[in-house]
């Protein structure tokens, strides 16, 4: 017999060598949470072995650093001698699990140069007018800007001129001029006075990077003095109620007042988000002087109020791939009305500025490694290539992974279930909620995790059908057919059960099948297999992370070593941010557009076959998923 001591409770128990730590804990009366039922899948039962010798049967959930620090999974670890074990508080384990997967911080991969920006702020002090110098206010400012900063031929619109007299006098002839020296489509200028503020205000200069997704919209508030993202906000696109995908939006736009209505809806969402980030920083929205916008081609058309019909009709051409810059007032965007709006260039009707932005910010074309980039969103755009070639396609995955089109789906914000474990014996669910609150719904990463757990534990069969014969109250026939209860009403913030229905599962299955089929067809179109891919970059509106392991288990991502996957968060808004702060990035994004070939999947008859093959868990051809085959005992 050997002795196991559990700290900090200092409980001890005698067990034969070879006993599982989790069994020893039970005998000692120590509570260790075991969400996956002791299968070594969830990593939640981690403890620290402080002394003595143990054998770890599986370390799947532990990093080499964890192991060096003494971590072991209680359910997978056998005691070999007298041991002392520390049972960490649950929060510490959660933090440990989360930190290994945290999305990268928003950092620029290049140095920021605040002097090489088209949008600048200049403080100037003018000689006050006198009877000897009766120069008008505007000429006086122009003269001083030229003399002091070499800015000649400064232009101003009427609304700005109207602000001038008051600003000059209130600031006692010292003002801050917000000037746009040039623009994307006016590289030679002339410089334009956008705003004039009394006094000196050089602490910050605000701009926004915007991503207009079919389902989710994102705004990043950027301070151009520092080049940093200071605040972020996201919400569902207000247009969703008028159609889930781009095609239905285009159809809606072509009827009656549809175009105007859709434009107002998206503007409503964006302006609310802008107001939100501004309020967070205690500024007024009209102190934001520039917006750089990424989005798919249809979204950009609707945003600019350009009729998108031709995108849908043969031969599928947009009205414009790169919209010329225009002032915010022309579309009612809620920043300073004189502020410039830059839309990133798209390539074609179905490969828009969101993808050029994504390629730019993901670093896809900076490396000679064969890289697969996917933007997991409604349109499911993906790009394969390296620094010398790029090919892309759009697989129309639908909004399920953004939490839309799923009964209890939601965005990855506080209250969203982002990870789920199901006990294989009792079918009980344990989950983790963003922000540690009561759950309100399930976000994309939660849905992936949930589907994977349901599959692994047999709550659904490989077609995704819920097995109603299981001995648990969690499977039942609900309003929308069979469903599985993830959280009971008394655990939730809404006071209602949170469930996943058969229809939800269908939508998820279709989404993941479309994505994997897109990968397969894209690789085959250039004579490669998915195994040739060295890096997989994943962008999308997920929360902090997407669990790669779970995404492989459901057959959404190809089965390859986890370290080939990199989760990048929203790559589209990030690309807009890069373009906002760097002339070089603006040049590169145009180049990306020129390099990329587009593969139209609707014209590709292998897509349908691949889609049906992928409409299974994990895939009809299990040999493409050896790690999953091993997990379900069919390896």
């Amino acid at each position: 017999m050997v002795t196991v001591v559990f700290r900090p409770e200092e409980k001890r128990v005698e067990v034969p060598p070879g006993t599982l730590l989790s069994d020893a804990a039970r005998l000692a009366g120590v509570d260790i949470l075991m969400p996956c039922g002791g299968q070594g899948r969830c990593g939640r039962c981690a403890v620290v072995v402080e002394s003595g010798s143990v054998r770890r049967r599986s370390t799947q959930r532990l990093t080499p650093d964890d192991i060096a620090a003494g971590y072991a999974l209680a359910c997978q670890t056998l005691v070999e001698s007298d041991v002392v074990v520390f049972v960490p508080p649950q929060e510490r384990i959660e933090r440990r699990i989360k930190e290994t997967k945290r999305a990268a911080k928003i950092e620029l991969p290049f140095p920021y140069d605040r002097h090489d920006q088209p949008l600048r702020k200049f403080a100037v002090t003018l000689e006050p007018p006198s009877l000897a110098d009766q120069t008008d206010d505007w000429s006086r400012l122009q003269r001083e800007m030229a003399r002091r900063y070499g800015i000649r031929n400064l232009q101003a619109s009427l609304p700005v001129l109207r602000k001038l007299p008051r600003a000059l006098r209130e600031g006692d002839w010292t003002v801050t001029a917000v000037v746009e020296l040039d623009a994307w489509d006016r590289p030679e200028g002339p410089p334009r006075l956008i705003d004039v503020l009394p006094g000196e205000h050089l602490e910050s200069l605000w701009a926004v990077a915007i991503d207009i997704g079919t389902t989710s919209n994102v705004v990043w508030l950027v301070d151009l003095m520092r080049g940093q993202v200071i605040a972020q906000a996201a919400d569902y696109n207000g247009q969703i109620a008028r159609g889930e995908d781009v095609i239905s939006r285009i159809i809606y736009a072509s009827k009656g007042n549809g175009l105007q209505e859709l434009q107002e809806l998206v503007m409503g969402t964006l302006n609310r988000l802008i107001a939100q980030v501004a309020a967070e920083q205690n500024i007024r929205p009209d102190e934001i002087y520039k917006a750089t916008v990424a989005g798919n081609t249809t979204m950009i058309h609707l945003f600019a109020g350009i009729p998108p019909e031709s995108i849908r009709l043969m031969p599928f051409i947009p009205v414009v791939n790169q919209v010329p810059t225009f002032p915010a007032r022309e579309i009612g965007l809620g920043i300073n009305p004189e502020g410039t709006v830059d839309c990133l260039p798209g390539i074609a009707s179905y490969v828009g500025a969101d993808i050029t932005a994504g390629v730019l910010s993901s670093g896809l074309c900076d490396s000679d490694e064969l890289t697969l980039f996917i933007d997991v969103g409604t349109n499911g755009e993906m790009v394969l290539g390296d620094c010398s070639w790029l090919i892309s396609c759009a697989c129309s995955a639908g909004p399920a992974f953004e939490g839309a089109g799923v009964v209890h789906g939601m965005r990855a914000t506080a209250g969203a279930i982002e990870e789920v474990w199901i006990n294989p014996e009792t079918y009980e669910a344990t989950y983790k909620v963003i922000g540690d609150e009561r759950p309100r719904g399930i976000c994309g990463s939660g849905l992936i995790s949930l589907l994977a757990e349901m599959f692994i534990t047999g709550v659904v069969d490989k077609s995704g059908n819920i097995n109603l014969d299981l001995p648990t109250k969690r499977v039942r026939r609900g309003e929308h057919g069979p469903e599985y209860v993830v959280a009971w009403a008394d655990e939730t913030a809404t006071g209602r059960d949170i469930v996943i229905t058969a229809v939800d599962i269908d939508n998820l299955m279709r989404a993941k099948a479309a994505i994997y089929a897109g990968f397969s067809v894209l690789a085959r179109s250039v004579g490669l297999t998915l195994q040739d891919v060295q890096r997989v970059l994943i962008g999308g509106a997920f929360g902090q992370y997407i669990n790669v392991e779970k995404a492989i288990q459901i057959g959404m991502l190809p089965d390859m070593p986890y370290d080939r996957f990199h989760f990048l968060g929203n790559t589209s808004v990030r690309g807009a941010y890069y373009a906002l702060v760097s002339r070089e990035m603006r040049r590169r994004v145009t180049e990306v557009g020129r390099m990329m070939t587009y593969l139209e999947l609707s014209a590709d008859n292998t897509f349908f076959d691949e889609f049906n093959a992928a409409l299974f868990l994990p895939h009809t051809d299990l040999s493409q998923f050896p790690s999953v085959a091993a997990l379900v005992g069919e390896g």
């Binding site: 490989k462 097995n467 049906n612 409409l615 299974f616 009809t620």
Partner: protein, 320 residues
């Protein structure tokens, strides 16, 4: 000059399955029928072997058919009023197998009950010594209820229960497992869907040699090319070694052909279509023989004359 015939050898083989059980095997059939087992494309007997010829099942209904072509009713005569007699007539007409198709309702519109299904199954088993297949009405709840009863009534007879579909297979497979039967799984003309259903059924623990796949087909002139191509691709996958496609295939050319006006009706069609009787039987025959060429191991037919012609075709193709 001697001509060398190239031989194509395949690594895979279709599973051989046994339908029916004799008293020695715990049933009451006068003989068993084996299907599948080939390791070559249909009739390519120089490449490999085809231990069992394609089999013919004759479809009978549990009551007088309401929407069948008058030609079929005329061919069978009064036996259509009595499933037992019809089963016997089918055996005499040269069937290898008898397929009993249950209806949703009995005469007078009352739903078919489990007791009805048991009695019908028993009657057919007593009337013929051939192995049988029993298909439910094709509505989830009714299928589950009736087929469980059928499976129990026929325990030990190794009958084929149908039809399993992706959305409804658990109950039927469980009934087959418990009573020693086989199942027929139907999917909508797609290679992957067919394979997926085989996996789902096998996942419940039913051995592969008790699963028949029904990839669905269409009649001559109504998309048979598509069905043909799906079956051919399934068979090629099987011969190439894909385990989950190595199952015998059953198709229903009788049902498909007799739905179409070319076979079904004699009036209101162009005179240039020629003699109705000839055309109708030809339509079913050609649909069946084409599907046999694409790999069908069991064809379900309706007209006794078609049975004769398809039999003659199979015999000639199997002759060395």
């Amino acid at each position: 000059m001697p001509v060398e015939i190239p031989v194509e050898q395949w690594p895979g083989r279709v599973i051989e399955e046994t339908l029916g059980a004799t008293p020695a095997e715990g049933g009451t059939r006068s003989r068993v029928v084996k299907v599948g087992g080939e390791n070559t494309l249909p009739f390519m007997l120089t490449d490999g072997e085809m231990p069992n010829p394609p089999r013919i099942a004759i479809e009978i209904l549990d009551q007088r058919p309401k929407d069948w072509s008058p030609l079929l009713l005329e061919a069978w005569g009064d036996v259509v009023d009595d499933p037992a007699k019809w089963a016997k007539a089918a055996e005499e007409a040269g069937a290898d197998l008898v397929l009993l198709q249950l209806s949703l309702t009995r005469d007078g519109g009352k739903p078919t009950t489990a007791a009805d299904a048991k009695a019908l199954t028993r009657a057919v088993l007593q009337a013929t010594g051939l192995p049988i297949l029993v298909f439910g009405p094709g509505q989830v709840d009714a299928d589950n209820e009736l087929l469980v009863a059928v499976a129990e009534e026929a325990a030990g007879e190794r009958i084929v229960l149908g039809i399993c579909e992706e959305k409804n297979y658990r109950t039927i497979v469980a009934a087959a497992l418990a009573n020693g039967h086989l199942v027929n799984g139907r999917t909508a003309m797609d290679v992957n869907l067919a394979k997926q259903l085989n996996i789902l059924i096998a996942d419940m623990g039913l051995p592969l040699d008790r699963i028949i796949m029904d990839p669905t087909t269409a009649s001559l002139g109504y998309g048979i090319e598509y069905g043909y191509s799906v079956m051919e691709r399934l068979r090629l996958a099987a011969l190439q070694g894909d385990k989950m496609t190595q199952l015998p295939m059953l198709v229903t050319p009788g049902f498909e052909a007799w739905r179409q006006k070319e076979a079904k009706v004699g009036e209101g069609v162009p005179a240039s279509w020629g003699d109705w009787r000839q055309r109708a039987v030809l339509w079913e025959t050609l649909t069946a023989t084409n599907l046999i060429l694409s790999g069908a191991d069991i064809v379900v037919l309706r007209h006794p004359e078609t049975v004769k012609r398809v039999r003659a075709f199979i015999d000639r193709m199997m002759a060395k």
